[in-house]
């Protein structure tokens, strides 16, 4: 590679990134706009941030989203980790491909379908066993858990299949039983992957609009739902301020989880792993 890069490559780079990030940048800039009109710059001000924090509806919705995010990410971790473990450690069994495909399916399933099917499930359940009584935070949490668990399973599986199994064998050889090996050896080793999976799930739950709209009930409006409905009534610069905050929070979390994944990759490559048949 020569030191001098062609003008074509540079302009391609600039254009590509501009395409991706100029809209977001505009939102961030206009969140500091003085005027009420979103599209006309009148001067610098932070008043929309102040008004955002005094908007009770927004704050409530944000609080709902946070609670749902934490709960569903935690549940997804509890469900997804065993699934990932099975996928990488159970060996070959009949229907393995089908099973792994079914675990990954929620990742590509259209959200409308996921949302609709979950709504039908909740309604049926309510009629049959009386639970969940109505739709609200708990139904959104369950709905988010289903697709977040798939992400966790994939993250855990990829971490585990890159890990030298002889470490677990060594623990067994030294007298530890399988359950103990999982908690004392495997779990600490995949901890960064678990944290990354949790953060990813949290972010996904925070972002979701479609599925939440299907399974939400009165009093359980999440932040994306709130934003969507208020935008329909006209875009206020308050939304720009909110968007800026969300973008910052989400980027921070994505950054942290990628750093965690990167670190565990590095640890893995540092450990000498040579396998011989």
């Amino acid at each position: 590679m020569s030191g001098k890069r062609s003008t074509f490559l540079i302009s391609a780079l600039v254009f590509g990134f501009a395409f991706l990030y100029v809209p977001i940048l505009l939102v961030m800039i206009y969140s500091f706009n003085e005027g009420k009109l979103v599209t006309v710059w009148t001067g610098f001000s932070t008043k929309w941030y102040v008004s955002l924090f005094s908007n009770d509806g927004m704050i409530d919705a944000a609080w709902n989203s946070l609670r749902i995010g934490v709960m569903s990410a935690t549940l997804a971790l509890a469900l997804g980790t065993p699934a990932g473990l099975v996928m990488s450690r159970f060996g070959r069994f009949k229907g393995r491909t089908l099973f792994s495909g079914m675990i990954a399916a929620p990742l590509v399933m259209p959200e409308v379908i996921t949302g609709l099917s979950l709504l039908l499930l909740f309604v049926t359940l309510e009629q049959m066993v009386g639970w969940p009584a109505g739709r609200g935070i708990s139904t959104i949490t369950i709905a988010h858990t289903t697709f977040c668990a798939a992400y966790v399973a994939v993250v855990v599986q990829s971490r585990l299949s890159g890990m030298d199994t002889s470490v677990e064998e060594a623990a067994m050889d030294l007298g530890a039983k399988p359950a103990k090996i999982f908690f004392v050896i495997t779990l600490p080793m995949i901890l960064p992957a678990l944290l990354a999976g949790w953060l990813l799930s949290f972010t996904l739950s925070l972002d979701d609009l479609v599925i939440a709209s299907f399974v939400a009930g009165p009093g359980s409006t999440t932040l994306p739902m709130k934003v969507f409905s208020s935008v329909r009534l006209g875009v206020s610069p308050e939304i720009n301020a909110l968007a800026t905050l969300i973008i910052l929070a989400v980027s921070a979390m994505i950054l942290i989880s990628s750093l965690l994944i990167l670190r565990s990759e590095r640890n893995r490559s540092r450990a000498p792993s040579t396998e011989e048949a």
């Binding site: 064998e169 060594a170 067994m172 030294l174 007298g175 039983k177 103990k180 050896i185 450990a271």
Partner: protein
């Protein structure tokens, strides 16, 4: 039997202690009985029977995929045999899980727990046994002293060098005082210099603790340096078992002869034999090979004479008696290694013979050069005769 009587005669009662395999009354400590392991249709281990005695340092030697690692993993309990039985100290190991076997294993990758420091790694096995804390502390520090790692107790595995990790792995597997210590390519991940040094250290430690060691290696030099006995494996089958000396001097097949050290194999036909000698006529070698002991077989049978390069003599003049055990050829390749030189001599038949000669005196110029006509000759006892 291809081992002369004289060698067997020397194996008398006084060596029964140090060589239990020569004592018919000795009870084996580890016993493989017709063990077979299949992966799908592939026979990784095919009907292997093997006895290993207490305090031995036994090596399973073979190329990759020969089944040696599978045999070791069956002993550890990571694989169950498809058929056959494995006994350790008289106890049938069938159905005994790895965490209850009296074996500990040192893994090729060392498999240290990355989130624990050296001390915690070594103590892990003892914690599983529920020993009191004070006892664990003593055992761990004794063991770390044995492998000279006392200075590094608080380090994590990634802060250690390859040699140090190897020591920690050894300490971790030895600290539980297993009946059998299994070593999977114990020195495979070390560089050559460190490997040679560690070989002797490992043997010394084995002698000190007296534990029975079973090790897997593909490195014949390593096996010969360390092991009391070696089993040479090929394609899931044990080709030959014996001491390094027996295997090198009296291989039972071309495979073993080739695997341990270097050898020239010369094909020929038995033309004369007696109780005291045999003569093999070789078209390939272009000579008649005189053997100073009887061989089992009839005249006209095909044999291979295995000639070690260092047992061959290279001369410019023909030897006094050119009837037996000498051929002429031309020097084709020369490898000067300082201490020794290796020569490839092309015979009239087109066969290449490898000869190594020590450079025991200082010369003004190299003794031989390319295309030199030379004679290769050897003593009557130099060749071993193989029939497979």
């Amino acid at each position: 039997m291809l081992v002369p009587e004289a060698v067997l005669d020397r194996a008398h009662e006084d060596v029964h202690k140090t060589q239990p395999w020569n004592n018919p009354d000795a009870v084996p400590y580890i016993r493989f009985e017709n063990v077979t392991k299949k992966f799908g249709d592939f026979y990784a281990v095919d009907d292997v029977s093997l006895d290993i005695y207490r305090h031995e340092l036994f090596a399973l030697l073979g190329g990759s995929g020969c089944g040696k690692t599978t045999l070791l993993r069956m002993l550890a309990g990571f694989e169950e045999p498809t058929s056959g039985k494995i006994y350790i100290d008289g106890v049938n190991m069938a159905g005994v899980p790895a965490y209850e076997r009296p074996t500990n294993m040192m893994f090729q990758s060392y498999a240290l727990f990355p989130h624990m420091n050296v001390e915690q790694n070594v103590a892990f096995g003892l914690h599983q046994d529920g020993l009191p804390k004070s006892e664990i502390r003593t055992l761990v520090s004794d063991m770390l002293a044995l492998v000279q790692m006392t200075k590094f107790t608080k380090r994590k595995p990634h802060q250690l060098s390859g040699g140090q990790r190897q020591r920690v792995a050894l300490a971790r597997s030895l600290v539980k005082n297993p009946k059998v210590l299994l070593l999977d390519e114990p020195l495979g991940a070390l560089d050559k210099k460190l490997r040679e040094q560690t070989q002797f250290e490992l043997v010394n430690i084995q002698e000190k603790v007296g534990t029975t060691f079973v090790m897997v290696t593909h490195d014949q030099e390593e096996a010969m340096t360390m092991a009391s006995r070696i089993a040479v494996m090929n394609e899931g089958v044990i080709n030959q078992t014996g001491t390094p000396f027996e295997l090198y001097e009296y291989p039972n097949s071309r495979y073993t002869a080739n695997f341990l050290g270097q050898v020239n194999l010369v094909e020929g036909v038995l033309i004369d034999d007696d109780e005291k000698y045999a003569v093999i006529k070789s078209d390939e070698g272009g000579c008649e090979i005189y053997i100073d002991h009887a061989v089992q077989g009839h005249r006209g049978m095909t044999f291979w004479a295995a000639l070690r390069p260092e047992r061959l003599r290279l001369t410019k003049e023909p030897p006094e008696d050119t009837k037996y055990n000498c051929v002429s050829g031309k020097v084709e390749e020369i490898g000067y290694l300082g201490g020794i030189s290796t020569y490839h001599v092309r015979l009239a038949s087109g066969k290449r013979i490898k000869v190594t000669e020590p450079n025991s005196t200082r010369q003004i110029e190299p003794r031989y050069t390319w295309e030199d006509p030379v004679w290769v000759s050897w003593e009557a006892g130099a060749a071993s005769v193989l029939n497979k």
